[in-house]
């Protein structure tokens, strides 16, 4: 019969191995910044008024973060801050196996640190889009874990459209204040 080391000893050894590291294990995979890709077969970009950048944080099976939305001015995607048009809290996030699901609610005043009104965003047509959002809820269902997230997004009851995201080396945003720094109100309604 093989005797196992006591739990506290195993925990200690594991802790010693993790000493100095900021995170261990795979339950933080997906955490980072993901940017929508319009090249190739991502047909969603062609007619869509917005592209998205995901600032995700994964904790085991739970997922949260922010989604920044950028207004398009042509077929190509642009993630210039001047074109930012909305910053939304990720809700109902989950990450199980290789499938990631979450949603944002542009119709709700849930932009973390920002007012629901769009006066802070200067992209053409942005104020109107925020005041009268084309979707109350946008649902994301993506597959993949490390290099690419491919799946679809669904605006309310409309048919889903295919989207693809790739990781980018950027600082993870944990607030929308940067994009709406002139906003008089700060805080989250969650």
């Amino acid at each position: 019969m093989t005797r196992r080391a006591p739990s506290w000893l195993r925990a200690g050894l594991f802790g010693a191995l993790c000493l100095g590291a900021t995170a261990c294990g795979t339950d933080r995979a997906l955490t980072g910044v993901w940017q929508q890709v319009c090249e190739g077969d991502a047909s969603a970009c062609a007619d869509a008024p917005f592209v998205y950048k995901l600032h995700l944080g994964r904790f085991g099976d739970d997922l949260t973060g922010l989604v920044a939305r950028y207004a398009k001015s042509g077929p190509a995607a642009s993630f210039d801050t001047l074109r930012e048009c909305g910053c939304y809290l990720v809700t109902s996030g989950s990450a199980r196996a290789l499938t990631t699901r979450f949603q944002i609610e542009p119709g709700m005043p849930s932009a973390l640190g920002c007012p629901a009104v769009g006066h802070a965003f200067s992209a053409p047509g942005c104020k109107e889009a925020i005041a009268n959002p084309p979707c109350q809820t946008v649902q994301f269902e993506l597959d993949g874990e490390s290099d690419t997230l491919v799946g679809n997004l669904k605006c309310d009851d409309a048919p889903p459209v295919t989207v693809r995201f790739e990781p980018v080396n950027e600082r993870l945003r944990r607030t929308c204040v940067g994009a709406c720094r002139n906003a008089p109100d700060t805080g989250s309604s969650e």
Partner: protein, 491 residues
């Protein structure tokens, strides 16, 4: 008060005072000298070197004797050594023991080996009539023999080397140096003579001149009055060297002594040995005079342990093995002071400040500053430049507020600060907060250090604590960690 009672009282007082005075009176000098020294008394050491008997100088062809150098044929000298040894305040090392002491020196064996080799080279060179090489090699051999005091172990061998040097110098035509070498040979062993078959008249005459010169005007070689280089200098060690001279020209035989100290002071003494005076009496007188000029001795110096203090500063890290989350690390800085209080006993004092690093599941929402301090006596031992130590003692620790959350928004966005963070993430809401605690328990550490130049050292330590008391409920305990530090050794 009646008269008889007063008289009785006076009598008792007088008797008591008399007894006290008698008991307080100093003992006679003789009794003090012969009394055994008190415990802890530090006796001066007197090294009595083997007697150099110069009497055979008077004989044209003295018999070659095989007497060991440590033994003398002069009863007065033996009586002197015996009498000196009876003084309880002196630690007299007899000639035989001095020879053993000389032979026990590390330099002696090497010196004899080198000297013998150079002497052989010199004799070979002399046989091949390479006189300069021969002189140089024989001079080297004699110098090395004298440096290690081999003349007191095997005087005949050293004297034969000097004799060979003298003969070679004479063949070279250096009569002055040759005479000094002949004198050196005779001063080392007065029985030194040329072999009967030796037929070089000039050498025979030169040796005879040197012998007669020493006989009429005895002179001691310089090394006779010098502290030997191979003997470590000590303030309470004295060397007694002695020579015995035969009666000459109406003068009685005599013992010539010199007391040499490490600081260079010399005390010469001469004891005549007239016929009819018992050897014990002459030796006893000489011992008495020598005793009078030697320090009496005193209390042994109290050995004070050097109190060594070592201070080191370095990086430290640990993990609470007892922890409600997955183990997470704490890194910081630690200061250690180790005070050596005895040869292998020391006290370690430790102070550490650390900050937590993120746990793997990111449930800690605020970094935790932990203060730790410990004091622990223990043992240490040295192995070359390395030192190993083990200490067990008491630790007082204060882990900072332990704030965790299982709420995914709290974990990602953090607590609300300056308008940032997740607003609902507050105590009792999404946060679990354990305030700062004070923990007290047992501490143990193992260390290994390596000496570096300039009193610096590098030390690695492993430490562990088991907390026994807490100021409130605490989920954290059993810190296991280590430290790597650079230190300086203070004295």
């Amino acid at each position: 008060m009646n008269a008889p009672r007063t008289l009785w009282a006076l009598t008792v007082v007088v008797v008591t005072l008399s007894a006290a005075l008698v008991s307080a009176a100093p003992a006679p000098d003789a009794a003090r000298i012969l009394a055994p020294p008190p415990e802890g008394f530090k006796r001066p050491t007197v090294l009595v070197y083997p007697l150099v008997d110069m009497a055979p100088l008077a004989e044209v062809s003295p018999a070659v004797v095989s007497t060991p150098a440590a033994q003398s044929n002069v009863p007065a000298f033996d009586a002197f050594v015996s009498a000196l040894s009876r003084y309880p305040n002196l630690r007299v090392v007899a000639p035989a023991s001095v020879v053993s002491r000389i032979k026990a020196r590390r330099t002696w064996l090497e010196g004899v080996r080198v000297g013998a080799a150079r002497a052989d080279e010199g004799r070979d060179a002399s046989a091949q009539v390479r006189l300069e090489d021969a002189t140089r090699a024989l001079a080297d051999a004699a110098r090395v023999f004298h440096e290690v005091e081999h003349a007191y172990v095997d005087p005949r061998a050293v004297a034969r080397t000097e004799l060979a040097r003298a003969s070679t110098l004479l063949e070279q035509g250096d009569a002055l140096e040759a005479n000094e070498a002949f004198v050196a040979a005779l001063s080392t062993d007065a029985r030194t003579r040329l072999r009967p078959e030796y037929d070089r008249a000039e050498t025979i005459a030169a040796l005879e001149r040197a012998r007669l010169g020493l006989l009429t005007a005895p002179r001691a070689p310089e090394r006779f009055t010098r502290w030997p280089a191979s003997e470590s200098a000590a303030a309470d060690v004295f060397i007694v060297r002695a020579r015995h001279h035969a009666a000459q020209g109406g003068e009685p035989a005599r013992l010539e002594l010199v007391v040499v100290s490490a600081n260079g002071t010399l005390v010469p003494e001469t004891q005549p040995l007239p016929a009819g005076v018992p050897a014990e009496e002459a030796g006893g007188r000489l011992a008495s005079r020598l005793f009078a000029c030697l320090p009496f001795g005193g209390a042994a110096p109290v050995r004070r342990a050097t109190r060594e203090v070592r201070a080191d500063v370095g990086g430290a890290g640990f993990v609470f093995l007892e922890n409600p989350l997955d183990p997470f690390g704490h890194v910081g800085a630690a200061v250690h002071l180790t005070t050596q209080i005895a040869k292998r006993v020391s006290i370690e004092t430790m102070a550490m400040v650390s900050n937590s690093i993120a746990d793997s599941s990111a449930q800690i929402t605020e970094s935790m500053v932990t203060l730790r301090g410990a004091i622990a006596p223990g043992f240490e031992t040295r192995l070359g430049a390395a030192r190993f130590e083990a200490h067990v003692g008491l630790e007082v620790a204060s882990p900072g507020a332990f704030v965790t959350s299982s709420n995914v928004y709290c974990r990602h966005f953090g607590v609300p600060t300056d308008g940032l963070g997740y607003q609902a993430c507050v105590d009792g809401g999404g946060l679990d907060r354990t305030p700062r605690r004070v923990l007290v328990g047992a501490y143990a550490s193992l260390g290994a250090s390596l000496d570096l130049p300039e009193d610096l050292y590098l030390v690695a330590r492993l430490n562990y604590a088991e907390y026994l008391f807490a100021s409130g409920s605490s989920d954290l305990g059993r810190p296991l960690g280590g430290a790597l530090s650079l230190g300086y050794q203070l004295r």
